[in-house]
């Protein structure tokens, strides 16, 4: 056990226990996405912890500084936001202790819980970061919260992400990314190995094909993939990017979905697909069982959420320059970054198209306390979906990582009442 990444040890322990339990108790093919997801994350976390034990440098990173970009180092990448929300998902009281710690230290209650967790953990000396890498996106919470780490004397490497998608933005960001990888290297005493980076990016290109195929399959009526795929994929993207276990995950899930699609089967436990919903933002992290409840109790498929609806082009790895240009494009099109580095018209247009393509009959927008950049969107999107497609949208105020803001009971009640109006 490495003392430098205590929360990762905790995460690994819970994941392993949960995985073992689910694997032993729940017969196949039930909970297939959850089982595969836990297995994948277990592999990634084990590898990280092993490296930490070997004494390799610990690089904290924002979720939108994709971890495969860090594969040019022999290091332990730790995702700040992912740690907060994976713990929220797996422990009954999630990260609440650490949210409270940092809140009491002065972090405003309305600032995003995804950063609060590791900030509290740093106050509690649970992490020893050698360096932290963050982009200046997607939100005020990021610009505002990360200077705390600098205050705590952790070297902070900040990559400026420009607002607005233009050719010049990708060029600007590509240069930033390259020089920032060198900066990280300087701090940890390593030279970035771009051959290793290339391998990880090529692997991601391969994964992209599976993701795209899965995306197409999810349009089928009934949807052959369980709703749980949404939060699980966000976790896989965060913890396993650029790694072979991510490829294996998508391969398995895709094969399962193909089989179900061929046999016109519903996801296990779903008796009938009564509602087809799109979630323009995300599902809830503090209780990912919500997805199972939607499938089993309500017969509601969550067809797509913000982590699953948009895909970047594959990265051309034929030269270093092209590689960095591709990485910049990918980074700017990463979930949440994409939406916050452009005007909201594109997001609205995209979700109208997605809702149409997926034959959705309703939308649910979880309006997350932290995400102020999305705060002006729900009503506009609701009006647009109503006017363009005639489908209603429910807006629920939440903190996706803290059940104390709006409990799972309140959330379920709201969804239930909403579905009553759809019948």
């Amino acid at each position: 056990m490495s003392e430098r990444v205590i929360p990762y040890n905790i995460l690994l322990e819970i994941i392993s226990n949960t995985y073992e339990l689910v694997w032993r108790i729940v017969p196949d093919p039930e909970f297939s996405v959850l089982k595969e997801g836990l297995k994948t994350m277990e592999v990634s976390l084990t590898s990280g912890i092993q490296k930490a034990e070997e004494g390799l440098p610990v690089i904290g990173h924002h979720f939108s500084f994709p971890s495969e970009f860090l594969s040019c180092f022999d290091a332990v990448p730790i995702c700040i936001e992912g740690t907060s929300y994976l713990l929220s998902a797996l422990l009954p009281d999630g990260c609440e202790k650490y949210y409270d710690l940092i809140n009491n230290w002065g972090h405003p209650y309305h600032t995003c819980s995804s950063q609060k967790g590791p900030m509290g953990m740093v106050l509690d000396d649970l992490f020893e970061f050698d360096v932290i890498a963050t982009p200046t996106a997607p939100c005020d919470n990021t610009f505002a919260s990360y200077p705390f780490f600098a205050y705590k004397n952790i070297p902070l490497v900040i990559t400026d992400v420009p607002f607005i998608h233009k050719e010049k933005s990708y060029i600007y960001l590509a240069e930033q990314l390259k020089s920032d990888l060198y900066k990280i290297g300087e701090v940890i005493g390593q030279k970035p190995d771009f051959d290793k980076l290339k391998i990880a990016l090529n692997l991601e290109n391969q994964i992209l094909n599976y993701e795209l195929e899965l995306f197409e399959l999810r349009k089928a009526v009934p949807c052959p993939v369980e709703s749980m795929i949404n939060p699980i994929v966000s976790g896989i993207k965060i913890f396993s990017s650029g790694r072979p276990e991510k490829l294996a995950f998508f391969k398995t899930i895709l094969n399962l979905a193909k089989k179900r699609y061929k046999n016109k089967e519903l996801p296990p436990g779903m008796k009938e697909e009564k509602f087809r919903s799109v979630w323009p933002y995300m599902t809830i992290f503090f209780d990912i069982n919500l997805c199972e409840w939607l499938d089993r109790e309500l017969g509601m498929s969550v067809l797509i959420d913000i982590f699953n609806y948009n895909f970047e082009e594959p990265i051309d790895t034929s030269s270093e320059d092209k590689m960095f240009y591709g990485m910049a494009k990918k980074a700017m099109n990463y979930p949440m970054i994409k939406e916050s580095t452009e005007f909201f018209d594109t997001f609205i247009e995209n979700f109208i198209n997605v809702s149409r393509d997926f034959q959705a009959d309703c939308a649910i927008f979880t309006s997350h306390l932290g995400c102020k950049q999305f705060g002006s969107i729900p009503q506009i999107l609701r009006e647009a979906l109503r006017d363009e497609l005639g489908i209603p949208m429910l807006i629920i105020d939440v903190d996706v990582g803290d059940k104390r803001f709006n409990s799972i009971k309140i959330i379920k009640d709201k969804i239930k009442m909403f579905t009553n109006t759809l019948l």
């Binding site: 939100c139 607002f163 018209d345 932290g370 950049q373």
Partner: protein, 381 residues
């Protein structure tokens, strides 16, 4: 003579004013903006009147709340509310930048819901500049290019043949003079016997952003004279520095000053942050304008510049002989909330009395705040 009921200060109490009317009557245009990161000098050189958006006087957010969730900043919601009620119909254009996640969405909302609402006929062009969030050489080059592109868009949209270097230089001169006058007034505020209250200083700053700068300069000279001739505030009040979120009305400053303190300095964007730095008059004028904006005293949207902000606070606390610092944020303002969090620890480490509080743009329950402020002032030596 005092500044009570001074016609210039009174301009801060309303949005529209007779100077704007006169300006528009002579066929000239007004461009609204939110944030001090926009190049006022460029607009002025294009013979446009830059008007800094406020919601002063509008105590409701009801209409704004339809389009912005309740955890957005109440200042922005109040300004959207006012816009939806027609409060900014006099605009001929508006310019937004990515200052914070709340105000930046006005680019879309003003377009969609305010200036395209039923019955509103005027076509209102909108402009946007993307400001980097860190201070680097590459970031400066990006920003400079944004300003250059903005210049072209302004020329095109307002049918201006060319904004010349001479126009820009003249504009720089007027704006440098304006900032110098504001700094001179500020000097009278921080001295041992302050000649101006915090509420008055705030009013001056708001009025200054609502009328043509050449007129504002005349008015500021007049005010400066009034202040120089005045006796000042000789009472032994606690000297406070006010830091944080935007203030577009004096309700909060009055609360503090009615509780027996004097706000002798601030770190607000309707305050010192707006006039500390000047533009170099030599060299390429557009580049100089960009340089000042980019490298000036930052606000927390600049992610890597907290130390500079802290250093300013420390030096101002010494210079203005501050007894205590009030850090405030409008609820849901993550930027100032987190900057204040760090300031609180850093200033406490220096044994400087600090009070950190959240508020609304318009405070309904003043009792709670008043009690807490009074308690803090009690504590200050």
């Amino acid at each position: 003579m005092s500044l009570q009921n001074d016609p210039f200060l009174n301009l801060s109490n309303s949005i529209f004013n007779s100077y704007i009317k006169e300006w528009q009557d002579s066929n000239k245009k007004v461009v609204g903006y939110y944030c001090t990161y926009i190049p006022e000098e460029l607009l002025h050189a294009a013979k446009l009147l830059p008007f800094r958006i406020r919601a002063t006087g509008n105590e409701s957010t009801e209409l704004g709340d339809i389009y912005m969730v309740r955890f957005t900043c109440s200042f922005v919601r109040a300004s959207l509310d006012l816009a939806l009620k027609g409060g900014f119909d006099f605009f001929d254009g508006y310019l937004i930048c990515n200052s914070c996640d709340h105000s930046r969405r006005m680019y879309e909302l003003f377009h969609l819901k305010v200036f395209n609402r039923e019955g509103f006929k005027k076509k209102i062009p909108r402009f946007y500049i993307s400001v980097p969030h860190v201070i680097t050489k590459a970031g400066f080059l990006w920003f400079k290019q944004e300003i250059e592109e903005l210049k072209e868009k302004i020329e095109k949209n307002f049918n201006i043949k060319k904004i010349t270097n001479e126009d820009l230089k003249e504009s720089i001169k007027i704006h440098n003079e304006n900032r110098k006058l504001l700094r001179d007034i500020h000097e009278l505020r921080i001295q041992t016997v302050p000649k101006i209250t915090g509420s008055e200083a705030l009013q001056i700053s708001m009025a200054n952003s609502s009328i043509p700068k050449d007129i504002a300069n005349q008015e500021l000279k007049r005010i400066l004279k009034v202040l120089n001739d005045s006796e000042g505030n000789k009472t032994n009040q606690k000297r406070i520095m006010l830091v944080g979120s935007i203030m577009d009305n004096t309700s909060f400053t009055e609360l503090i000053e009615n509780a027996g303190a004097l706000i002798v300095s601030d770190f607000l964007c309707f305050g010192t942050r707006n006039f500390l730095d000047d533009i170099n008059v030599n060299g390429d004028p557009l580049e100089s304008i960009s340089k000042r904006l980019y490298y000036r005293m930052s606000c927390p949207r600049m992610m890597d510049d907290h130390e500079k902000r802290l250093n300013f606070l420390k030096s101002e606390i010494n210079r203005a002989k501050i007894d205590g610092v009030i850090l405030q944020r409008i609820n849901n303002c993550d930027l100032h909330g987190c900057d204040n969090m760090l300031f609180e620890h850093e200033l406490k480490d220096l044994d400087i009395p600090v009070f950190n509080i959240d508020r609304e743009s318009f405070q309904a329950d003043t009792n709670r705040l008043q009690t807490r402020i009074e308690a803090f002032l009690e504590m200050v030596k």
